[in-house]
C-alpha cells in the first residue's frame, strides 16, 4: 500500500511548492525577468560595465607579460598600478584605450567593502603579496630562464610538451599571481562589493531606485550600475555580453574561464547557467524595486562563485597529488600545484551567504598555504602527495562537495 501511494505523493510535491511560492510573491513588486542581460529605460540601455572589461583586459596583458623576459620589474609594476612609482602617468599597455584609462588593477585588489572597508591592514598586505609575485618573477625567474630548475634553483621544468618557469621552490609566480587575482580582484569586487547589500543600499540608492532617478548624465541608477559592475567581472569580456553562456570559459583567463571549466565538469554542470540567471533575476528585481528578491540572488551568486574557486583549487590539488606520484614527479606536479596555490589564496575572498564571512578566513588560508608550499629551497620539491590531497579534502568538505567530484 505504501508503495503505490509514494509515487502519487511525489507528483504532488512540485505543485505544492510552486503554490507556496506564488503566494509569497503576491505582495512583492512584479519582477519581469528577461532571457538575456538586457535592460533599458526610456528606450536606452541601462547596462554598463566598461570599467570591468578594462580591468580584465589590463590583467590579461599583465599576465602575458609575466612570460616575456624583455619586461622589466618597473614595467610590470606600472601595468599593475597603471601609474609610475611617484604616481606619474604611464602608458604600459599595448592599446591606447587601456593607457588612457584612469583605472588600475591594484586599486581594486582586496578592496571589497564587506571585508576591507575597515581592514586596510590586510588589504595592504594582500596588495604587496601580489606585487611581490611580479617583482620576484623578474628578479628570480627571468635570470634563470634558460636554466634547468632543481630544488633550490629557479628555472625551467617540463610539463608534457609545455615548458614552465618556476622559482627555487618550484612555484610559478605567473600562476600564483593570475589565480590569486581571480579572488582578490574579480571575485572580491563582484561578491563582496558590488553584490553586497551594504554597497547596493549605500547613500540614496533605494530612494533613487524606487523613484527611477538615474545618475547624472546616465541612463542607469547607481544601484543598477553597481549590479552591472559585478556582472562585468564575470561576463565583461564575453563577445555577446547580454547572452554570454555560449562562450563561457573562453572569454578571459580569470573568473569566466574557471566558471566555464567547473561547468564542464559533469558533477557541477549547470553552474554557469545558475550564475547567469541569478545575475539577470537580481538585476530585474532591482528594476522592480524588489530588494528582498535582489538579496536572494546575491546569496546564490556568493555561494556559486565562491564554489568555483573551491572546486578549481581542489581540482588542481588532486591533479598535483597524482603528478607527484607519477614517474615524472615531483616536477610534473608544479604547474598544477602553482595553480592550486593561487586558488587556495583566493579562498579568503569567498563569502558564505549564511554567515557573511569567507568559507576560509585569511588566517586559515595562510595556514593551508604553509602546508602546501614553504617559501624556501624545499617549496613544492619537498611536499608529499598525501598532504596535498588532505588539503583538497579539507576544502571540499568545508564547501560540501566531494573531493572526487572536483578531482575528475
Amino acid at each position: 500500500m505504501t508503495m503505490t501511494r509514494f509515487p502519487a505523493l511525489f507528483l504532488l510535491f512540485p505543485i505544492l511548492f510552486t503554490g507556496c511560492k506564488d503566494d509569497d510573491d503576491v505582495p512583492a513588486p512584479i519582477v519581469e525577468v528577461p532571457d538575456s542581460y538586457t535592460f533599458s529605460r526610456g528606450g536606452q540601455s541601462t547596462v554598463a560595465f566598461d570599467g570591468q572589461s578594462t580591468r580584465i583586459a589590463m590583467a590579461e596583458e599583465l599576465v602575458a607579460a609575466l612570460r616575456d623576459t624583455s619586461r622589466t620589474e618597473a614595467e610590470l609594476l606600472a601595468m599593475y598600478r597603471n601609474e609610475g612609482p611617484n604616481g606619474e602617468d604611464v602608458a604600459p599597455f599595448s592599446t591606447e584605450m587601456l593607457n588612457a584609462s584612469d583605472k588600475s588593477i591594484r586599486s581594486k585588489v582586496a578592496a571589497g567593502a564587506d571585508y576591507f572597508a575597515a581592514n586596510v591592514t590586510d588589504a595592504a598586505a594582500i596588495r604587496s603579496t601580489l606585487e611581490s609575485h611580479l617583482s620576484r618573477q623578474v628578479t628570480e625567474v627571468f635570470p634563470a630562464w634558460n636554466t634547468l630548475a632543481q630544488a633550490g634553483q629557479a628555472g625551467q621544468i617540463a610539463d608534457g610538451t609545455s615548458t614552465r618557469y618556476v622559482n627555487a621552490g618550484g612555484l610559478e609566480y605567473n600562476q600564483a599571481f593570475a589565480k590569486s587575482l581571480i579572488g582578490a580582484l574579480m571575485l572580491d569586487q563582484a561578491i563582496n562589493n558590488y553584490l553586497s547589500p551594504a554597497v547596493l543600499d549605500g547613500g540614496q540608492n533605494r530612494e533613487d531606485q524606487v523613484a527611477g532617478t538615474p545618475e547624472a548624465g546616465q541612463s542607469y541608477t547607481t544601484m543598477e550600475h553597481e549590479w552591472d559592475e559585478a556582472y562585468g567581472y564575470v561576463f565583461g569580456a564575453a563577445p555577446d555580453a547580454a547572452s554570454p553562456l555560449a562562450t563561457v570559459g573562453e572569454d578571459d583567463r580569470f573568473l569566466n574561464e574557471y566558471l566555464g571549466q567547473v561547468d564542464r565538469d559533469a558533477d557541477f554542470a549547470g553552474i554557469a547557467e545558475t550564475v547567469f540567471r541569478a545575475f539577470v533575476r537580481g538585476r530585474a528585481a532591482i528594476v522592480a524595486g524588489d530588494f528582498t528578491e535582489r538579496d536572494a540572488q546575491t546569496d546564490i551568486l556568493q555561494a556559486q562563485l565562491s564554489k568555483v574557486i573551491a572546486v578549481r583549487g581542489t581540482f588542481y590539488l588532486a591533479r598535483g597529488a597524482d603528478a607527484l606520484e607519477s614517474p615524472t614527479g615531483p616536477q610534473a606536479s608544479f604547474h598544477a600545484l602553482s595553480e592550486a596555490y593561487g586558488f587556495v589564496y583566493s579562498l579568503q575572498f569567498t563569502q558564505d551567504p549564511a554567515t557573511g564571512a569567507p568559507y576560509f578566513t585569511r588566517q586559515e588560508v595562510l595556514g593551508l598555504l604553509d602546508r602546501l608550499y614553504t617559501d624556501s629551497a624545499d617549496g613544492f620539491w619537498g611536499v608529499d602527495a598525501a598532504s596535498v590531497r588532505a588539503l583538497g579534502e579539507e576544502i571540499a568538505s568545508r564547501f560540501g562537495f566531494s573531493f572526487s567530484a572536483a578531482a575528475n
Binding site: N146, I157, A158, T163, Q261, R319, E325, P327
Partner: protein, 342 residues
Amino acid sequence: MSRLLYLLPFLLLACTSDEPTTEEKATFDRSAMLAHWADNLIVPAYQNFTAAARALDASVAAYAAAPSATTLTVARGEFETAYLSWQRLSPFMVGPGQELRLREQINVYPTDTARLLGQANDDLTLPSNIDVQGFPALDYYLYGTGDPARFATELSRLTARIVELSAAAEAAWTGGYRDTYVANSGNSATASVDRTVNVWLEWYERNLRAGKVGIPAGIFGSTPLPDRAEAPYHGGLSKTLFLEALDAADDFFSSDPSLAAYLDALEVRRDGELLSSRIRAQFRTARDRAAGLATDFATQVRTDNTAMLQLYDALQANVVLIKVDMLQALGINVDFVDADGD
C-alpha cells in the same frame, strides 16, 4: 523498505557492468600479456630503434667528414629508416621512456626553423628546446635548408642526442625494469597493464589521430594546416610514417596474447559482435582510407582535405570503441586529461 526499492536500479546496474570483469579476470593471464608486451614488442622496439639511431648517427658523421651527394643520400636513407623505426617505439612511453621524456625530445613538431638557423648551441636538455631537436629538426636540416653540409655539426649533435636517450631507456628496460614491469600485474591505476594501455591510448589520440592526421587536416581549427604535417621538408614520408604507426597500434592490440585476446577471454561483445573484431575491422578501415592518400599529407590536405577528414573519422571511431567499450570491460580508468591550455 520503500527507500531500498529506489536503490534497486542502481544495484542492478552495478551488477551487470561488474560481473563479467571480476568473475572472468582470473581466467586471463595478465602476467603473460605483460611479458609478451615487454619481450616481443617494447624491448625489441628499443633495440631496433637504438640500432637505427646509431646507424643514422654514423651516417651523419660520415657525411660531416666528407660531404658529398653519396654520403648525403646514405644519411637521408638512415634518417628515413630511423624515423620509421621510431613509430614502433613511440606508443610505449611507459617507465624509463616516460621518465627520460623520449617522445618529447625526439618527435615534437613543427620544429622552430628560425631558431635552428639562428642559435644552434642550445642546451638540448632544456624543456624549452624540445622543438629544436629530434627528427623534425633533422628533417629541416637534411631537406629544408638547401645545403645540409652547413649544418653538419648540428646534425651530429642531434643524432648523438637521440642515441643517448634511446640507449639510456633501453638499458633501463633490459637492466631490471622489464622484470619490475611484468611483476606489476595487478589492476590499479599504477599497475603495468593500466599504465601501458593508458599510455598507448593517449598516444593513439594525441600523436596518431591528432598529430599525424587531425591537426594538418585543420580539425581543431577552421582551415587545413599543411605546415603541421609530419616530416614536411622531406615531403614524401608522412603517409609511410602514419601507416607504420597505425600498424604499431594494431599490433599492440591484436598480437597474441594482448588486448584482443583479453577481450575475447571475457567474451566482450558489442551489438552481438566480438568487440575485438570491431576494433580490428576499424583499424582495417583506417588503413583502407589511408591507402589512397598522397605520400605527403601536407600535399593531401592542400589538394583534397575531405579524404584526410575521412581518415580522421575512421581513427576517431576506434577511439570510441577503445576508450569507452574496451576500458569499461577491462576495468581500466583513463588517467590522462586534456591540457587546459594555460
